[in-house]
């Protein structure tokens, strides 16, 4: 690796002070599972690394008035094992389980996964479908944005030079929603998604409400399939309706052809995975209702 300096942040304030001082000359490292690979493969990088991986104030999962708050430096393994996540938005654990392998999930963090802004990230679709909010801090200010406002392009976020993502909040009204995350990769372990999908909705008297479909690896950033969502909104659930939603989602996505798959193949995958995710979410919604009734 090209030589660099590394400072282990002692606190969030310390990290923010360093960012304010060094700005573009500094880069934040959480889990390092992506950042160190990037550094080893030789791309240009700032000369100072700020290691936030051991800041306990950025790690942990709590239920607050706003919703389920996940510290940005919470690892994927923490999310998979969280009883709160399991009870309130298990789709996040379903997505976390698909990331890398045990070793990468033990180090890699949810905040790090988001700020890489890689289109094929697995945390993105689930959180985008849950309308997650982000807390962003700098030395001078705190602000909150929707996750969709973070994503600008491949490896490009809207974070300022002095800013740090501190936590992710799944709003209270989106907890306990029937959802499903599906990923298709070329292998079962350690593979990047060719396409990944998170989908869900609420059932009101048999009709689909509040439909969410988020797609990864099919556009410059993770996206919501707005037309497919609009098509399903208010419709009764049926096999035909979700199949049509899958076709619409495939139509509105803009996948590329690369060495992993052609754009046409990815479009086919979008249609199939969207349909399956909606089907599974429906089964889960029905099961949850039966459990509530019992």
């Amino acid at each position: 690796m090209t030589p660099f300096d590394c400072v282990t942040a002692r606190s969030l304030d310390h990290a923010l002070a360093l960012l304010e001082t060094h700005g573009a000359g500094a880069q934040v490292m959480a889990g390092g599972t992506d950042l160190l690979v990037e550094r080893k493969t030789g791309s240009e990088a700032p000369g100072l690394l700020i290691d936030i991986s051991r800041l306990s104030e950025l790690r942990g999962i709590h239920l607050t008035d706003a919703g389920l708050e996940i510290g940005a430096a919470t690892t994927h393994t923490d999310i998979m094992r969280s009883t709160l996540v399991d009870a309130l938005c298990p789709v996040l654990a379903e997505a976390a389980r698909e990331i890398g392998a045990v070793q990468t999930r033990n180090l890699g963090t949810i905040g790090g996964n988001l700020v890489t802004c890689v289109p094929s990230m697995d945390s993105g679709p689930a959180l985008l479908a849950l309308d997650a909010l982000l807390s962003i801090a700098s030395r001078r200010a705190r602000r909150h944005i929707g996750l969709d406002a973070l994503f600008v392009g491949p490896r490009k976020t809207s974070l300022g030079r002095e800013e740090l993502l501190t936590s992710i909040v799944v709003p209270r009204e989106n907890l306990r929603m029937a959802m499903c995350f599906l990923k298709f990769g070329l292998r079962k372990g350690q593979a990047l998604a060719l396409v990944n999908v998170a989908a869900g909705f609420r059932l009101h008297n048999g009709a689909l409400r509040d439909v969410r479909i988020a797609l990864g690896a099919v556009a410059p950033t993770v996206i919501r399939a707005a037309e497919a969502q609009g098509y399903l909104e208010g419709r009764p659930f049926s096999a035909e309706a979700v199949a049509e939603a899958g076709r619409i989602a495939a139509h509105e996505a803009r996948p590329i052809s690369d060495f992993r798959a052609s754009a046409a193949y990815r479009k086919d995958l979008i249609a199939v995975l969207t349909r399956r995710a909606l089907d599974t979410a429906h089964t889960r919604a029905a099961t949850a209702r039966l459990e509530e009734a019992a």
């Binding site: 690796m1 590394c6 599972t33 160190l36 070793q103 372990g189």
Partner: protein
């Protein structure tokens, strides 16, 4: 530069290394522990897997500074002077290693799994080992060996629990193993 103190296989060691030094480089080049292998060096192959504070990590994806104050277990710390660890015994019995390059990493991932689950099923074993590439064995014998090791460890636990007066640690390696030869200062040991 990063100055650090780390417990490696039960022994305190210190080092002062350039900030960009990875944990893998620290172990191999500064501490002379070459059990963890450099395969891909980007987190794909698992050959560098070690256990840090109880969890399996890719040593190539951590900086040395990140283990400051923590405890690292490498393959060198697994056996005692008297006996191989049950995982190592099982790998030998099942011929689960051929060239052996992936072995230290695979065995440490398996140890992290068995420390947590004493009776994992095949699916759980495959999940735990998904981050390892082995180009020789086809994985079948590796999985059988991990199942066998889980059996051996359960038997050992049963034996220990049937001996109420004796406190026998399940993983005595850290306590019993003599610190290996090295040039690094180990301040804590000198005090004791």
């Amino acid at each position: 530069m990063s100055s650090l103190i780390v417990t490696v296989n039960g022994a305190k060691r210190s080092a002062s290394v350039p900030s960009e030094t990875t944990l893998l480089e620290l172990l191999r080049e500064h501490f002379g522990l070459t059990g963890a292998k450099r395969g891909c060096d980007v987190g794909d192959c698992g050959a560098c897997t070690v256990i840090v504070d109880g969890i399996a990590v890719n040593a190539c994806l951590m900086l040395a500074s990140q283990v400051n104050g923590r405890s690292v277990l490498t393959i060198e710390g697994l056996a005692t002077k008297d006996a191989l660890h049950p995982l190592q015994q099982a790998f030998e019995q099942h011929a689960a290693l051929q060239c052996g390059f992936c072995g230290p990493g695979v065995i440490l991932s398996a140890k992290a799994l068995l420390d947590e689950k004493e009776n994992p099923d095949r699916h759980e074993i495959r999940e735990a080992l998904a981050g390892h590439l082995c180009r020789c064995t086809g994985y079948v014998k590796i999985i059988e060996a991990v199942e066998e090791a889980a059996r051996l460890l359960r038997e050992r636990r049963a034996e220990v629990s049937s001996m109420p007066e004796i406190e026998a640690p399940l993983t005595p390696a850290l306590e019993r193993l003599a610190p290996d030869e090295g040039t690094c200062n180990r301040p804590e040991e000198r005090q004791s």
